[in-house]
Symmetry: C2
Subunit: 347 residues, 2 copies
């Protein structure tokens, strides 16, 4: 890290890290950092539904920005849901509190009917939120992240009709009616690419795709069904303008294959051995993660020690973004989150 410029802004540090360029120390942010664990978030959230909150530009901007000052995060991710672009495809969707479809997608006819909308028209509030955030952040030199749900995860919910422990319906479709699932994944990939590029145009300086359910698959299934979609997104997203981060939940067994996706940064679940990942893949892809969010309930000195372990483990990687291995939990003590970011800052 000897060739790092003397004084980096948070934006420079984050973007250089994503691209594997020299920095002074790792940047830090937390998945689901704008969330219920923050009293100030709960205050803004009062009296509105989750969906209303997603569409309310002022409220969404406010909670997106809260983690900078309240917990010392060094990046802002827009407040939004991975299902935001889905209703405009022609899907009747509600949150209860997870996504619930009025009619699960099970037939070729249903997939045929799905539209791939122009996101600037179908969900204009997303781009207003991003533009507003970017303006707010310009003076503070903090980077802005956009995001989208990965095609397989969206498809899993859409086929199942809701969240599920086993997602047996999507796997059944995989083995019984692969052409329907393929057509659905094609449309969702198309939609994701357009959605992410529109976010970059609106000001996102990096984008992350969340594959929450790909970890349910075997490595062979991942290679057949999911990896080609990750690769297509990596090829078609404007990565010259905004590096692409891929997070696979519970995907320790998919690590070696996910490196083939071609993304700039792999965001690792806490079950992944970070030292092993950094040693074997860290010169090919930058890494992000991967502290178990439950550890934020530990005493501050324990958190600090674990942050130092993470940094040591990640050292062989060309770039490392300190983060959690999963979203911040609703019951997380705020002081634990602060201890986490402070420990990274003092590395």
């Amino acid at each position: 890290m000897s060739s790092a410029p003397a004084k980096l802004t948070a934006t420079e540090r984050f973007l250089r890290t994503c691209r594997g360029e020299a920095v002074d120390r790792p940047p830090v942010w937390l998945m689901r950092q704008a969330g219920r664990y923050l009293p100030e978030y709960r205050e803004v959230r009062k009296g509105v539904t989750f969906l209303e909150m997603c569409r309310d530009v002022d409220r969404a901007v406010e909670v997106s920005l809260q983690p900078i000052d309240l917990v010392g995060s060094e990046a802002v991710i827009m407040f939004q849901d991975i299902f935001t672009p889905i209703p405009a495809m022609g899907v009747d969707l509600d949150f209860a509190p997870g996504p619930v479809l009025a009619e699960p997608i099970r037939s070729a006819e249903q997939v045929d009917k799905l539209r791939v909308p122009e996101p600037r028209e179908s969900v204009p509030f997303v781009f207003e939120i991003l533009k507003t955030l970017r303006r707010e952040l310009e003076g503070r030199q903090v980077p802005l992240l956009g995001f989208a749900g990965a095609p397989f995860t969206l498809a899993a919910y859409m086929v199942e009709g809701s969240g599920s422990k086993d997602f047996a319906h999507v796997k059944r479709m995989m083995y019984r009616e692969p052409e329907i699932l393929n057509a659905l994944l094609d449309k969702l990939t198309e939609s994701s690419v357009g959605y992410l590029n529109a976010q970059i145009e609106a000001g996102a300086q990096a984008v992350q795709i969340f594959d929450t359910w790909a970890g349910l698959l075997t490595a062979a299934e991942y290679r057949e069904w999911v990896l080609p979609r990750h690769q297509e997104i990596a090829q078609r997203v404007n990565r010259d303008q905004a590096p692409l981060i891929l997070y696979i939940n519970n995907g320790a067994h998919l690590l070696d294959d996910s490196v083939e996706s071609g993304v700039d940064v792999l965001s690792l679940d806490w079950r992944v051995d970070l030292a092993d990942a950094a040693r074997r893949h860290g010169q090919r892809v930058a890494l992000q993660g991967n502290m178990d969010p439950s550890v934020l309930a530990a005493p501050p000195e324990k958190i600090a020690a674990m942050v130092r372990d993470l940094a040591r483990d990640a050292a062989p990687a060309k770039g490392y973004v300190a983060n959690l291995g999963h979203g911040c939990l609703p019951g997380t003590p705020v002081e634990g989150v602060r201890a986490f970011t402070e420990a990274v800052r003092s590395l």
Copy 2:
């Protein structure tokens, strides 16, 4: 396999496989094979609660035996729940349908008060079920399995008070009050050893421990909190009389460490790369698993092809028991289960 005796009973094939001795082909059974996917099971289950069913010797024996003739399973596992021995420890527990504690275990005082009961007195029906099953099976030469929940999984439920997505309370205890969790794990380990040995005395020819939630831990946490309990169980269970099988749900990242447990057979989650496990660990420990239960919804010829792949992948192991990587799902087509066992028989 050239030195395998010419004609093996199902019991011989199973026990020889667990001990890594030569056999003609892998034996086959399925986790949660006595379950709701079977109409005949649902018939017996009618009009009784899950708890009543566990304590009703006739009904429990009947559903335990069903999978032999109905789906061609080659081993019987007694119908029972991993929580069966817990109420007698002094815990107020109900099923709704998962285990729910009236009062979660959170204090040292609560752990102190927990008893380690003599299972033959506290849950006599378990041993009646086993003895009856053993008599029924003697003529059929089918092996009988007992089982217990692993200490960490039982502790996770007891501290949380119910099932949970994150089990944040048990992890909080791990980092904030490790001595309470250690004391709880000590008592549960003691209880598990006594319970398993009593099952073996009552006729179980092999026993399996189920660690449903250990997969929530990092490898470092597994080594510190769980592995010593697995090792203690492996040392104290009468393995001369009954081989010991260890199943860790969602534990692909714990494979290398779990080999150190000293059990006879590792039962693998479907996310584990079976070929890699067999190559690296198969001469030290026999393997069981690991087809994704969702695959049983595939067409029979696809299931048969995947069974052949499993057998090929497992070939380097000294012993291989064909099974699923998780319990049979309620919606599984019976013909898929039959296709699975038939494919193994024709290997």
